[in-house]
Symmetry: C2
Subunit: 205 residues, 2 copies
């Protein structure tokens, strides 16, 4: 592109580094910035900068937090004997939104993915093992994506955690609520027949 | 959404103000920011802030510029007797990329749109009229979008500029190069029959 201004070009280049943002979208966003008040743009830029400089990760569960220990880990109302292992903070938000879970979390910070060069050492695995040595943990729930990486991670963690006398479970997989059978993919449908549950157990809601 | 951190929530809210960016995309962008080096994020935020504070608009053509007069307006190689009227800086970039135009520009900063409350007073119309009083301008080319707003703007400007003894033209409208007739919309096809040109004139390329 043929920019009339170096400042404009630099700003477009910065926006274009964001995931899913190309040159044209970046230019549109930058022109939008130019149409806004100086104070608003200042607030935008200082909020981003402040976020990166001041954000903390909870010492216990490694979720994004404003303090050294996050609200969930420091709450006395939560069941600290139940740990839900998730990939990142978005999964914590999704599970919290269900209002169905009262335990605490452990945020791995990713999934094992040899293709992307991510191994157990890059994740919060050792800190999870440490947590189990400590306290009255009774159960670990794996709430990871139903993908190759998710399954690999569960397989690895299961081996590491077998030494402890703890119940290990994964969230249920099967056809989604409201899902029509004819549109469900074959793997999901096949597995949900193999892993069928007694009718009484399916009435949890 | 249920954020674990106020800093995170604020940053997501700022990103979600961008056009075409919803809460989920904003969260994805913010988490991407958290994964980048502090210096990179600092550069991002300072580039945006610098852009908004230091950007200038050319005194002559009102295009975005780094100096008081833009490179095109201060160039002696351009034909200052030919002014191309466009909506915004993206149109200048698009026309410059064609390498087919050697005149100067006038950036209106928008189009007349009563629905959005944008009238001639919100645009660089008076400054265009001023420019024509001054110098050796021989021709004005309207290069505006072929929309209701574009046509309204051309209609209005044409009335305002009639007083001057200047050629007024608009960029050619018709079927695009490479366009197959059966896929061209009816209005474009109909008009391109009505405004047909002698064969010799169509061989400009």
């Amino acid at each position: 592109m043929n920019f009339s201004s170096k400042l404009l070009e630099d700003a477009v280049a910065e926006f274009a580094k964001l995931p899913g943002v190309g040159q044209k979208t970046a230019l549109r966003l930058v022109l939008h910035m130019l149409n806004r008040d100086k104070e608003e743009v200042q607030k935008f830029s200082s909020t981003i900068s402040k976020l990166r400089n001041e954000i903390q990760f909870c010492q216990t569960c490694h979720n994004i937090a404003d303090q050294a220990v996050c609200e969930i880990c420091s709450s006395h109302k939560r069941d600290h004997g139940l740990i839900c292992v998730v990939e990142d903070t978005r999964d914590v938000m999704a599970i919290e939104n269900t209002n169905q879970y009262n335990g605490v979390y452990h945020v791995l910070g990713g999934l094992i993915s040899p293709m992307d060069g991510i191994g157990p050492a890059d994740l919060q695995v050792d800190t999870l093992v440490e947590r189990l040595k400590d306290v009255q943990v009774k159960e670990i729930i794996f709430a990871l994506s139903a993908t190759m990486e998710g399954d690999t991670t569960i397989f690895y963690l299961h081996k590491r955690l077998k030494q402890f006398n703890i119940n290990i479970s994964t969230i249920a997989r099967g056809i989604a609520f409201g899902g029509e059978l004819e549109y469900v993919d074959e793997i999901t449908l096949g597995r949900s027949i193999v892993t069928r549950v007694p009718y009484e157990n399916s009435l949890s809601g």
